[in-house]
Symmetry: C2
């Protein structure tokens, strides 16, 4: 069992050649004779040499890897974005290194630091909730100053002129609400996030826009900002308690939508006669509930691909860094059983 690590230096010593000869031979350089090449290659295969990536990257000042920072991994949507990014990146010869911020500012800062100081050539980020709460994006503005290639997706920092790929959340919220209105709903509630989460706030804007446009009145009893630190289910239960006449719910994510459905079943409410529900994000959950959930599809995979496309463009052509690019991925309504009326 071998334990010491093998380096070019050791190979060179064993074979009585210089380090540069070994290095060149491994790159199949024409400078090296076939005989020497073979001798070196044979030996290298035998001992199972692997170049040290740290040294290579340090020297090359290029890593061919891209960093991704997401708030969490459990969300189907983020996983899809990552898959899309991975797909695009791998075709271009880049690898992906993924980290989680856990929605914490400090961890986001730490991972940004780790990745952008040598590990990766570019960074893809969806911003942590806590960074919005603190309204602190200085770890990103430093990167911008350094002209480090950086693209945001879905959750983008406020007040910074950056590259970003998002969906039109206002429009998405509008579409969802409009759909409920078209189906005849009279009292439509929204289950949304606290106001500092831009995606939730925007979907809420769309909700309000659709209601007002249709001549409905806004009712603050119907607008619930879910606090995830407490029991989500109890908060939804309270919504039902407070609003006996409720006939439709727009939930800004799959989780809230699925829980609403579950609670409705417990309350013996008939979908869609008594209640209609529409969610957001077309993940596995929406397809597998009974009844299945109508939703707004976000196309995470495409978002990841597009974000990576922009990032690689910024990496390969640094001059393009001067003009931040902003792309909006279209959403669309997916109608399923939870809003399908005869």
């Amino acid at each position: 069992m071998r334990v010491e690590k093998i380096t070019l230096k050791k190979i060179a010593a064993s074979l009585n050649v210089s380090i540069s000869t070994v290095s060149k031979a491994l790159k199949d350089s024409h400078e090296i004779s076939d005989l020497t090449k073979k001798r070196i290659l044979d030996y290298v295969n035998e001992v199972g040499y692997r170049p040290n990536n740290l040294a290579v990257s340090l020297q090359r000042q290029r890593t061919m890897t891209i960093g991704v920072i997401v708030p969490e991994l459990v969300h189907h949507f983020f996983s899809r974005v990552i898959s899309g990014a991975e797909n695009y990146a791998s075709h271009a010869g880049y690898k992906l290194l993924i980290t989680m911020s856990n929605d914490e500012w400090e961890k986001e800062r730490q991972m940004t630091d780790l990745l952008t100081n040598g590990y990766v050539d570019g960074l893809l980020v969806s911003v942590a909730k806590q960074s919005f709460e603190k309204n602190n994006f200085m770890h990103f503005s430093t990167l911008l100053d350094r002209r480090f290639p950086l693209v945001f997706f879905d959750r983008t920092p406020s007040g910074l002129n950056v590259n970003k790929v998002t969906i039109n959340d206002v429009e998405g919220g509008y579409k969802a609400t409009k759909h409920l209105i078209d189906k005849g709903a009279q009292r439509i509630a929204i289950l949304t996030t606290p106001p500092h989460i831009s995606v939730g706030a925007d979907r809420e804007k769309g909700y309000k826009k659709a209601l007002l446009e249709a001549g409905y009145e806004l009712d603050s009893n119907l607008i619930f900002h879910i606090d995830e630190r407490a029991s989500i289910k109890e908060q939804i239960a309270k919504l039902f308690d407070l609003n006996p006449m409720l006939d439709a719910v727009f939930a800004v994510n799959e989780k809230y939508a699925a829980l609403t459905l579950k609670l409705a079943a417990q309350l013996n409410l008939k979908i869609t006669d008594d209640l209609m529900v529409i969610g957001f994000t077309d993940g596995f959950i929406s397809k597998s509930t009974t009844p299945s959930l109508s939703t707004i599809a976000q196309h995470g995979f495409e978002m990841g691909e597009k974000a990576m496309e922009i990032l690689l463009e910024k990496i390969e052509d640094k001059s393009s860094l001067n003009t931040p690019k902003s792309v909006i991925i279209p959403t669309n309504l997916v109608e399923r059983e939870s809003t399908r009326k005869p």
Copy 2:
């Protein structure tokens, strides 16, 4: 806007001191006078210097980061394991770098190579499906030869004596099936993976064991190996077609279980009178379906913590590498509506 990168060398030159003085000052070394320290620190803060992690790691031969390779991210279970691993690691001062194999052998090999040649001090892996199909684990045996700290979780390579944290899948399958038997089921089907996926195969073993022990006969019509490249739903539909007398289904994962429930609703089968369903993995899906799903909880978070605990132990005490450690995380039955009879 600053664009060139700042290094110790440049700082030293600007301040007319040596590189090592700057380096020491940044570490708050007692060797450096307070005056010089202040001068350096002030300057460093002003220009926003960040050490190059590549250089630091190369020099230190230590990165304080751990690599994780998972088949995919969309599975709630893997996300939970990662969270557990992250939790333990961060308390010990380690960071996590996550990559996906996409269940592909080549990508798994590539990421193993990338991470273990400089980027990380240790590796946590759940093996790709394709590696089982090819029965090729040489990228791992090379690591073992090199005595690189390595711990597997959930899906472990066959025929290699390695550190691993798993659940007892045979026992899990047994518990699930036994539960259905206890509830009075007569014709119990299993929806499982192709035989080369060890976790599926083991759960199937437990299924058979429970049936035989209870005096049931094994019926190959009731054993379905799902091929995920084709429509899962159609395959489940076929199971129902073939077995009109079917009264219970054990699905080896949440996805198959949720789809079974959905199909049952479409066929107007009453849960639990006509059909009972039990799944595997206690994720969000199992809780949110209607009826909610009974399942075998795998405790992914604990698995991640334990795997990381073992890995860090191997890293800190290299001598422990000689004795591979194998830990089994207990599973438990979670009874919900899909098997709850009056």
